[in-house]
């Protein structure tokens, strides 16, 4: 073990960690949007929407993320869409995450008592306001722990996008260790960085939960 190797590589690793973080965050944001849309569509969009949502969820939950990533990366050019690796990666993370998030929200919505929307209905609320003002805010509160969990899983899963050549933390670690022949030190450092990021996320989740509980 030579710690000077880690010190030398640290600027590159931290730079790559920043890429990991923002790719993951974009993936999570996209996943949130997709998840909410799919969840609401399945609950209130009739049978066709429910079935389409069901197919989406079972595909993106049932196929490994690595395969999804490669499919998006190699298949889209075939139909004439040329996607940069970064875009393909964010899309894959977002689509996969959206499937899980829609199921998280579905569970959370079931936990909101029926009387909550009934009170709004009896007051004459438009359907859209019942969703945006009453149901989704409560579902969000209930699902914060599961969403933080999902964020952490996604951040770790983002190491898979190294295979399409995005210079995130895992890919950068591979590149450095291939040139200095010090894989142990470099991967150890990468592992510690992942751990630090996820610990920060978990802490953030606890703070959000505590904040929402006061309300």
């Amino acid at each position: 073990m030579k710690f000077s190797v880690i010190i030398d590589a640290l600027p590159y690793l931290l730079g790559a960690a920043v890429t990991t973080i923002w790719v993951s965050l974009l993936g999570v944001l996209l996943g949130q949007v997709i998840g909410v849309i799919v969840c609401v569509a399945r609950q209130s969009g009739g049978r066709a929407a429910d079935m389409a949502g069901g197919v989406y969820v079972s595909f993106f939950r049932g196929v490994p993320l690595l395969i999804q990533l490669l499919l998006i990366y190699y298949m889209l050019p075939l139909i004439g869409i040329d996607v940069p690796p970064l875009v393909a990666s964010i899309a894959a993370l977002g689509l996969a995450s959206g499937a899980y998030v829609s199921e998280i929200y579905r569970g959370a919505l079931n936990a909101v008592p029926h009387g909550q929307s009934e009170a709004a209905l009896a007051l004459g609320f438009p359907g859209q306001s019942i969703w945006t003002r009453i149901l989704l805010p409560q579902a969000f509160r209930i699902s914060v722990p599961a969403l933080v969990n999902e964020l952490i899983l996604l951040l770790k899963a983002s190491s898979l996008i190294s295979v399409v050549g995005v210079a995130e933390l895992t890919r950068t670690s591979q590149t450095i260790s291939a040139s200095n022949y010090r894989p142990l030190e470099i991967y150890l450092a990468a592992g510690v960085i992942y751990l630090a990021i996820n610990s920060a996320l978990a802490l953030f989740g606890t703070l959000v939960e505590r904040r929402l509980q006061q309300a």
Partner: protein, 275 residues
């Protein structure tokens, strides 16, 4: 569902003023599968009247109440509020209306629930102001000011910024009442408003309801509070197995009715509440 008997001449808008009852229920029936929960219900509620629905549990009183604002769908007969048919298009054969079509009716009919159903992620003030913004289209500042006056009316101005979890059951129910009266409804429906409360908190809610009645609010109240029904109601309807078994003034129902089921019900009530 069986065919619907339509009255030949439904009340028209040409009938003037007080002649149109606030609520007119004619031949209403409802079934869950083969179980008939409401049978041939006739009931009229005039403007500024307080009508209490009493009876044993499972008698259909809550179901009937929930049919009035169409939270529950009735299959047969018709319910009219201020002459307007509830839940269906006024044509033959009638077509069931969607929640969207029901909005204009529901904004004039307030409902208070047994479980309060306050929104836990909003303060008392926000609970009251929300419908003013979402349904009446008021701007936020005006809605908040109006909501504050309503909370004051139910004696909770000091709790405006408290979340429901920090309020007692009685206070929560008073906020729920403020939320409804803020919309200036023509009619208020109460579904066992004190049944979920600790006994010592019942009085404060009943007092708010008494004040509303004194102000001329038209109210239909499903309740187990016989004292409230006896003292405040103009009319009492006793339901049993989906039918109105007795109807009249509190005196007529409580003291003069010879209907054995009413007497048995009151007997049980007295025994349970004596010690």
């Amino acid at each position: 569902m069986t065919a619907v008997s339509q009255t030949a001449t439904p009340p028209r808008a040409t009938v003037q003023g007080d002649a149109v009852p606030m609520v007119s229920i004619r031949g209403v029936g409802k079934s869950f599968g083969t179980n008939e929960v409401l049978r041939d219900i006739d009931l009229t509620v005039n403007k500024s009247e307080v009508v209490c629905l009493i009876g044993p549990s499972g008698s259909g009183k809550s179901t009937l109440l929930r049919c009035i604002n169409f939270l529950e769908v009735y299959d047969r007969g018709e319910i009219r509020i201020e002459g307007k048919l509830v839940g269906y298009s006024d044509e033959t054969p009638r077509r069931r209306l969607s929640n969207r079509d029901l909005r204009s009716l529901r904004r004039n009919v307030g409902m208070v629930f047994q479980q309060f159903n306050l929104w836990p992620h909003m303060t008392a003030l926000e609970n009251v102001a929300e419908a003013l913004v979402q349904v009446r289209g008021m701007d936020k500042a005006a809605a908040a000011a109006h909501a504050r006056r309503m909370l004051d009316r139910v004696g909770l101005a000091a709790k405006a910024d408290a979340y429901p979890a920090r309020l007692s059951g009685g206070q929560q129910q008073r906020v729920a009442i403020a939320r409804v009266i803020a919309m200036e409804p023509h009619l208020m429906l109460f579904d066992e408003p004190t049944s979920a409360l600790d006994p010592e908190l019942v009085g404060e809610v009943l007092q708010v309801m008494r004040d509303l009645a004194a102000d001329g609010m038209t109210m239909v109240v499903v309740t187990h509070e016989m004292g409230f029904a006896a003292n405040v109601a103009d009319k009492v309807a006793f339901l049993d197995r989906g039918r109105i078994a007795a109807f009249g003034t509190p005196r007529e129902v409580f003291h003069e009715s010879t209907e054995p089921r009413v007497q048995q019900f009151l007997q049980t009530y007295h025994e349970r509440n004596s010690f």
